[in-house]
């Protein structure tokens, strides 16, 4: 109740302040409900002159493409004056490929306003107005961020509905730091109707600029998914004003990158232990090393990856961050202070290898080392004399302190941080004796070796099972090597031709070509069933994800040997599965297929890279595939070719051998 009392006092004060000439007596007879209503209207009136309508002045190819999807489309939008001649709006209204917009002045005149600068981290755009146009606009008073309190009234204004009168939505402040420290949160209805408009306190001071800031929750990409949901974001005006000089200089501000990968994928429970530290990255230049654990950032103690992100995410390229890391050493852990200057981009990461293929394991941290199952033919490890059965117990960079490794994932992280041309030092145990071996780091080759060692043979004939999952109407079929006690399985998801409206018999026929190869290489082959028998669709992508969960519940799976493949239209679906599952997928094979048009080919990072194989029949490959190969190569992906496929049968042997090879380090 204390909060409510505070709110009323603020409100009465606000009404007095915001409505000149009104005396407290004039409100004495009104109930709180009406008092609040008048306070809202007075606050909106006070800031109305700072809110302008934005109209598109150029076509965005990106936006036209997006309009085909179900996402909200931008037409007219809203902007907020933050300084004389400076109007802030959102990238929702003015996408990246657009260089100007139209500002509709409150009087109705239209002015062309060039894009002056962009804040790509918050999704904001600065439009410039000439002095004459700016003269009639109001520069609003900012609400100090330190004064913000959860529970206070907030008003969201927009001019998208109506150029003559700002729209008003009312709610309260839900949180003062959200979306990794970039925004405040309100429960007022925030939507395309007020993106770009101000979030205002009950005194008519501007708290922030409303924007569809992605909250970085799974499945959310644009931030517009949350429109009118009771979860709305505004970028604090104080933060906008801090970067306004840089935006006025015409700069595009982008998020700052540190350049580390963490040992764990769960940001909320795991400590920020560095698994990879990119060569040439801000982290490497600052002296950060693989194995370090970040324990403080900008003076704040941090114990989880998410806490480090909360410090880093609001920062831009060029900003600095002060870190303290805990480093293991012979004399016990030490604390090392570091300062890193964040970068805008990192060069694409090329996956390196030393040429050992570890035995399969289902989970991290098992046998006190990494057991070598086979060595890559003619690879660096083979040249250094490593053989099947060796146990790698520790690894070091040139001249560094050896770090113990107990899982392929940990060793992969270390190797991933090295560049081709360097040398790694391995501590290897063979026949009870330990010795140190120097191994060159080489680029990962594009071709799958012809002869690879097989995992321990399956103990029974392969079975064909349905991967049933709740609410999945047509679950995928899986070809499973026999013997539940066998080694962890590799996984290959294969989208062949859509199976048609046929029954289980047709689907089982599709499983036939896989039986031998799946058993020989210990690979579970998942054959999705199309929800629409005529074509693959987005629903099938979700069904595969559920099916893989069902598979993991049934049999142990090696997390480093999961791949997707597809032929013809199935190729696009395979790529979408790889995108949806992210680091859980290590390879994608496209047969007679190109990337889907909506594919996002992000530059690779340690822990996020794909080995992509192209192949197919002699005549079936689409023309776009060649361009896709070049694009993927430029972005750091490992791109290879499969031998030509003859006939309709899938290249089961090559693909299953490739899944086994994915585990190479």
């Amino acid at each position: 109740m204390r909060a409510a009392a505070v709110r009323t006092i603020v409100l009465v004060a606000a009404v007095g302040a915001a409505a000149p000439g009104a005396t407290a007596d004039a409100f004495a007879g009104a109930d709180a409900f009406t008092l609040e209503e008048r306070a809202f209207q007075a606050a909106a009136a006070r800031v109305a002159g700072a809110v302008v309508r934005i109209e598109p002045a150029a076509a965005s190819t990106a936006a036209v493409g997006a309009a085909a999807e179900a996402a909200p489309a931008a037409g007219a939008s809203t902007g907020t004056v933050v300084a004389p001649g400076a109007v802030i709006t959102t990238e929702f209204a003015v996408p990246r490929d657009v260089t100007q917009a139209i500002v509709v002045l409150p009087g109705g005149g239209r002015r062309a306003a060039p894009v002056v600068g962009r804040d790509a981290s918050r999704g904001l755009v600065l439009l410039g107005l000439d002095a004459e146009a700016a003269a009639g606009l109001v520069v609003p008073e900012p609400a100090p961020r330190a004064d913000l309190a959860v529970g206070q009234w907030t008003l969201a204004l927009g001019r998208t509905w109506d150029a003559s009168t700002p729209s008003v939505a009312v709610g309260m402040l839900s949180a003062t730091s959200r979306a990794w420290g970039r925004a405040v949160q309100t429960d007022a209805s925030i939507s395309p109707a007020n993106y770009g408009g101000p979030l205002v306190d009950v005194r008519g001071r501007v708290i922030g600029i409303l924007a569809p800031v992605p909250a970085d929750t799974a499945g959310m990409t644009s931030g517009t998914e949350l429109y009118d949901s009771g979860i709305g974001f505004a970028v604090p005006l104080e933060d906008v004003l801090r970067v306004l000089p840089a935006l006025r200089e015409g700069r595009t501000l982008v998020p700052g990158i540190l350049g580390v990968g963490y040992a764990s994928r769960d940001p909320f429970t795991a400590p920020a232990t560095v698994a990879t530290c990119r060569t040439g990255s801000p982290a490497a230049r600052a002296g950060l090393r693989t194995g370090d654990t970040i324990v403080a950032a900008d003076g704040r103690p941090v114990s989880r990856i998410a806490e480090v992100r909360n410090v880093l995410a609001p920062k831009y390229a060029g900003d600095t961050v002060e870190l303290v890391v805990e480093r293991r050493g012979a004399a016990g852990p030490t604390r090392v202070p570091l300062e890193a200057t964040l970068a805008a981009t990192l060069p694409p990461w090329r996956r390196p290898m030393i040429g050992i293929v570890p035995a399969r394991v289902a989970a991290a941290g098992s046998a006190g080392g990494v057991e070598v199952d086979w060595v890559w033919p003619d690879g660096p490890a083979a040249r250094a004399g490593l053989v099947r059965g060796d146990l790698v117990t520790a690894v070091a960079d040139e001249g560094g302190e050896p770090q113990p490794v107990d899982s392929p994932t940990l060793l992969a992280g270390f190797i991933g941080g090295l560049e081709a041309g360097r040398t790694a030092t391995l501590v290897v145990r063979r026949d009870g004796a330990e010795r140190t071996v120097a191994v060159d780091v080489a680029p990962l080759p594009a071709l799958v070796p012809a002869g690879v060692a097989n995992p321990p043979a399956a103990s029974g004939p392969p079975t064909v099972e349905r991967l049933e999952a709740a609410e999945v109407a047509r679950p995928p079929l899986a070809v499973l090597p026999g013997g539940k006690a066998g080694p962890p399985l590799g996984v290959l998801v294969y989208f062949g031709p859509p199976p048609g409206p046929g029954d289980g018999a047709a689907a089982r026929q599709a499983a036939e070509p896989w039986l031998d190869a799946a058993a020989r290489h210990g690979v579970a082959v998942v054959l999705p069933t199309a929800a629409d028998p005529q074509r693959w669709g987005r629903d099938d992508v979700a069904a595969v994800a559920r099916g893989l969960d069902a598979l993991r519940a049934r049999r142990p799976v090696d997390p480093r040997r999961v791949a997707v493949a597809g032929r013809g239209p199935g190729g696009a679906c395979a790529w979408l599965v790889a995108e949806a599952l992210g680091p859980a997928v290590g390879g994608a094979a496209l047969l007679d297929a190109a990337l889907p048009r909506q594919a996002t080919v992000e530059p690779t990072e340690p822990g996020r890279s794909l080995w992509v194989l192209f192949g197919g029949s002699l005549t079936g490959a689409p023309a776009k595939a060649a361009a896709d190969r070049a694009l993927l190569g430029d972005r750091g992906y490992q791109v290879g070719l499969l031998p030509d496929v003859l006939g309709d049968a899938p290249p089961a042997e090559e693909l299953c051998r490739w899944v086994e090879s994915l585990g190479v380090l």
């Binding site: 109930d31 209503e37 036209v64 179900a70 489309a73 062309a112």
Partner: protein
């Protein structure tokens, strides 16, 4: 231009001051609490049950009692395509309803139930609400109110007062008059036909059907203003409700080629309206329009697609001057094309 703070007309403010001074006036001396206001208003709101269950359509919605003799205004929908329509009051009384008439333009319907001295809203040609006015929305959202339960109440403000430009799938809503856009989520199954009341319990609007905004595609939360409902009610009572608007009138268009403007081909609904060429000797050629000009407004009305250009031109009365605003090499240029000729429609 709509004033921002018209929550009440000026004379009401004076009345309020008079009340403070102890002079009797029309306002109640002791205001009801919001809870009391809602409970009193909810007695005049009915749950409407009819046809449904087909293709996921709901068989329920909401209605408002507008006369003690049993007149219920609700929205025109498939729920009413039933032999048996029931209205249930908040005290649990269930009445069999007759469909008295429909107003296809506003998509409202009038039901009658056999009761007398029923609690009812006073419907009148009310002053429109201003932006920022606080309201309560009372409706049978998601059909969660059963039997003698009251309908659900939501708190919001009038976010905007704008002409309705909405669609349901590919179908454009026929009503083009002003509606109240609300800032609370009222676009729920069962909500259409619900009451929107002011803080003093007056009926100020009726929740409309579930629609999306034509431009952005976002779901709309909106209500038909009480004055519009009142006009519809009178027409329905007298049997003079306007016939459904002809399909081509609801979406009247004027081909810019009649002015000599040839736009780039329409590849998508949202193809931007770039000029491809102008016809020799046409008004467009004389006005200096040329290839790659991007049309952004027609007589001050923003246009972001070819379809919008055709609709905006149709709104210019024949003989009135046409001014097309374009972006040309980064600058905004107004082009006067002279009077709009007749025809041009399709």
């Amino acid at each position: 231009m709509r004033p921002l703070c018209p929550g009440r007309p000026p004379h009401c403010r004076r009345a309020l001051l008079a009340a403070v001074a102890g002079v009797a006036c029309g306002l109640p001396a002791v205001a009801a609490t919001p809870g009391e206001t809602i409970v009193a208003a909810a007695r005049k709101v009915v749950k409407v049950h009819g046809a449904g269950g087909v293709r996921g359509l709901e068989g329920y919605q909401t209605g408002v009692l507008v006369s003690p003799a049993g007149h219920v205004v609700t929205v025109m929908s498939t729920v009413l395509d039933a032999d048996e329509i029931d209205c249930v009051l908040d005290d649990g009384r269930r009445f069999r309803a007759r469909l008295q008439g429909v107003d296809p333009r506003r998509e409202l319907a009038l039901l009658t139930i056999d009761g007398d001295d029923l609690p009812a809203f006073a419907l009148e040609e009310a002053e429109p609400l201003g932006v920022g006015s606080r309201v309560f929305a009372l409706s049978n959202l998601f059909g969660v109110a059963v039997g003698d339960e009251r309908v659900s109440a939501q708190l919001g403000v009038v976010a905007a007062v704008v002409p309705l430009a909405a669609r349901r799938g590919a179908y454009e809503a026929p009503f083009r008059g002003e509606v109240y856009v609300l800032d609370c989520t009222t676009n729920n199954p069962g909500s259409p036909g619900g009451a929107v009341i002011a803080g003093d319990g007056r009926l100020v609007g009726v929740l409309g059907k579930e629609l999306r905004a034509a431009e952005s595609g976002v779901w709309l939360n909106y209500a038909l203003p009480a004055a519009e409902v009142w006009r519809s009610y009178r027409e329905l009572l007298s049997g003079t409700a306007a016939p459904p608007p002809p399909a081509d009138a609801a979406a009247a268009v004027f081909d810019p080629a009649a002015l000599g403007v040839v736009l780039v081909p329409d590849l998508l609904d949202k193809t931007p309206p770039f000029v491809e060429s102008t016809l020799p000797g046409s008004a467009a050629a004389r006005a200096g329009l040329g290839p790659d000009d991007l049309l952004v407004a027609v007589n001050g009305r923003a246009v972001s697609s070819r379809a919008a250009v055709r609709q905006a031109l149709a709104l210019v009365p024949e003989g009135d001057a046409v001014r097309i605003t374009v972006v040309r090499r980064g600058a905004i240029v107004d082009c006067d094309l002279g009077p709009r000729p007749a025809g041009g429609g399709r």
